[in-house]
């Protein structure tokens, strides 16, 4: 089973990199781009084949290491092999 973890800043947390990307897009002539937020994508290869068990285990990984829940949200996507 593969897991994809998307980590992103919570609302209200200043993301200066996202802001710089937004400014550069505007400089390149892309119009109509509002707020830009930059996050992280972490891909995991798991031995677990049961989806519920895999999700539980990846949630624990997010809480313990992959995300800092003071400033970040995470979303987990699972994909069967």
């Amino acid at each position: 089973m593969k897991a994809r973890v998307h980590v992103s800043y919570k609302n209200g947390v200043l993301d200066p990199q996202g802001k710089a990307i937004g400014l550069t897009l505007a400089n390149l002539g892309f119009e109509g781009v509002g707020d830009v937020r930059q996050g992280k994508l972490i891909e995991l290869d798991l031995a677990e084949s049961d989806a519920a068990a895999a999700r539980k285990s990846v949630e624990a990984m997010c809480e313990k290491l992959l995300a800092n829940t003071v400033i970040e949200n995470y979303a987990i996507e699972l994909e069967e092999d």
């Binding site: 200066p16 990199q17 800092n68 003071v70």
Partner: protein, 230 residues
């Protein structure tokens, strides 16, 4: 007083803080014990210092890996017993990641690495770490960081203010540059835990601890610890 400095892979201010602390204690550098991050045991100590640097290359988040290293379980246990813990720069990041201090440190609002002297104000001089300073005294101490933007939820910030957990705030210097170098919420440069036994700060007191550094305003922090813990 016994002091220990934790060394992570990528720490680079460990020797500086060892020398500055030893001189405050009045001994040779080897009176301050260096503890490798992979050790799970530590001798009895009165003060644990987490030094500045770029442990684990700031991978994932600054301080994230170090906060989960074997020695940190021992550091957390000692902190819970009331042993004093000081985190400087990367050490501050590690303390927030380890949950010993509230909040988190984000990339600087200006996106640049900031390396310069800043002016900070002592907001609480009634602690182990700050008793050698006057309340409201301003200090000139260098910072050198990319991820120094302190962030905490507004509700937690209100509680911290109530409990006098703000240790230092950036304040106006006479050189005309913006006081807050990194966009930290409420101009915060350093914070205590609720018991005031743990301090994390972005400025480097060990880099302003000898006349040869060009300033000695950081010495007061180390001397405060020595007088409180000896």
């Amino acid at each position: 007083m016994k002091a220990s400095v934790i060394v992570f892979p990528g720490s680079n201010c460990d020797r500086d803080v060892q020398v500055a602390l030893a001189s405050a204690i009045g001994g040779t550098p080897d009176t301050v014990e260096m503890v490798w991050h992979g050790d799970s045991e530590m001798a009895k100590t009165d003060l644990i210092v987490l030094p500045g640097g770029f442990s684990y290359g700031d991978y994932l988040r600054s301080g994230a890996m170090s906060a989960r290293s074997p020695v940190m379980r021992e550091v957390v246990a000692r902190a819970e017993q009331g042993v004093a813990v000081l985190g400087i720069c990367n050490g501050f990041q590690v303390l927030t990641e380890a949950g010993l201090l509230p909040g988190a440190l984000l990339p600087n609002a200006g996106l640049k690495f900031v390396c310069r002297d800043v002016q900070i104000r002592v907001e609480n001089s009634q602690t182990l770490f700050t008793n050698g300073y006057q309340q409201g005294q301003t200090l000139r101490i260098p910072v050198a960081h990319h991820d120094g933007q302190y962030f905490v939820e507004p509700e937690t910030l209100a509680e911290m203010r109530e409990r006098d957990q703000i240790a230092f705030r950036y304040c106006d210097a006479d050189d005309g540059r913006a006081a807050n170098p990194n966009g930290s919420i409420d101009d915060i440069a350093g914070v205590f835990n609720d018991r005031k036994s743990v301090l994390g700060l972005m400025p480097h007191p060990e880099r302003a601890a000898d006349a040869i550094h060009g300033g000695t305003d950081g010495q007061g922090l180390l001397n405060s610890l020595v007088s409180a813990l000896s």
